[in-house]
Symmetry: C2
Subunit: 239 residues, 2 copies
């Protein structure tokens, strides 16, 4: 637990009544595909998985902004598009078989080990739990089941129903709508700094889990709380 | 001139009546700051200027999407924020003096050598010329004057008036509004593949100048024309 998190225990009245988690990068390790990529493309697995991830996120923004969502594609399709771009960018021999294996790996990303413990502790304290994710429903369904988290999540929300990705405010609004709570009563946890930033702008009680010791975005807004591990989120609720 | 460009000469009735250029990356070389960065941070100049550029673009998207532009900041401020992020990300000693020198360099980016020739050729053919840029007006003013392009540009349009960055459709609409022409009558030239993509979605006759032999975005839309140099744009108007 880092210093920021230690200092962030909240008075009971201020504690969030629901806590939503981002999925990709937060509950599920998007870089766990790097090992398979390294097998296929020795020496380039890390660069490949970084470009893949960056393009997937970039595409989610381009389709959301451009022509008011007319060019929306489900997250699975954007993930595949990002994969293909990474192969072209690095001039790799991305055969149809390798492409399929990498996408299959993405469908079954490793879950971070502390997920269950943290979600269980939240449930024990009577906090409503959920996922609010860019992933489409079938991706989330497989990921949640693979990680055995289904019984610990009250809500699994995909932005797919509104065809706009985070960081669009309509996407963040989905957790308010699902719970009937105001944003200020909801905690939002993300390891992605852009997600923690925009959720802070939206009005959530944000918790940025900085797994990789990265700087936060430098736009003049800080997340409400910061930690290095999902367990740090529990400090918000400590007596 | 590459094969695609050679094949793209248009019938007179199809030729664009105006041609707008993206500024940063297209007329002005955003990576020309890399030399100064390399002097300050030996061995890391390229990585630094790449992160700087990527963050600048990412921030333009985040502020445009989030809360409907409530968090808009001028491009100069986003450029500074991107610079600071790059320094933190690479753990560099970015002193206030170095920061100022790098920003000053950004204000006076190198112009690509063929700019004047291409704009002059368009003017000679009676084509309306312009810039449609994310840069704020004072940045564009200095850049255009430094490059001596003022007399060759009928329009210098910044998105700053609408507080939304490309790739928002309202940003692309500005060239239609300035000229009174329809998008289909306007050529739009960019070296940035995301810009060429979104301008194609918007309906412009797009020309992607692929200076660095990169793949195009893999979202299923191709630019109308492709070349490797701004001069290739003239092939659209060749008899």
């Amino acid at each position: 637990m880092d210093k920021t998190a230690q200092n962030s225990s909240l008075l009971p009245a201020q504690r969030p009544r629901a806590i939503f988690f981002d999925a990709y990068g937060t509950l599920f390790d998007v870089y766990s595909v790097g090992l398979l990529a390294e097998q296929f493309f020795p020496g380039q697995g890390q660069a490949f998985s970084q470009i893949w991830r960056d393009k997937q996120i970039e595409y989610s923004r381009l389709v959301t902004t451009s022509n008011h969502g007319q060019h929306y594609q489900p997250f699975w399709d954007l993930t595949l598009a990002g994969l293909r771009y990474a192969g072209l960018r690095l001039k790799l021999d991305l055969t149809a078989e390798r492409e399929q294996q990498l996408m299959n790996q993405y469908r079954h990303l490793s879950a971070f080990p502390e997920n269950r413990e943290v979600l269980q502790a939240l449930k024990d304290r009577g906090v409503v739990t959920g996922i609010l994710s860019n992933g489409d429903p079938s991706m989330l369904d497989v990921a949640v089941k693979s990680a055995g988290l289904g019984d610990l999540l009250d809500h699994v929300i995909s932005v797919d129903s509104i065809r706009k990705y985070k960081t669009h405010p309509d996407a963040y609004a989905l957790a308010e709508q699902a719970t009937g709570l105001k944003a200020s009563q909801i905690g939002f946890v993300s390891c992605n700094s852009w997600d923690a930033l925009a959720a802070t702008w939206y009005g959530y009680q944000t918790f940025w889990v900085n797994r990789y010791q990265l700087p936060f975005e430098t736009l003049g807004t800080e997340p409400c709380h910061t930690g290095s591990n999902l367990k740090d989120v529990l400090s918000l609720l400590a007596d």
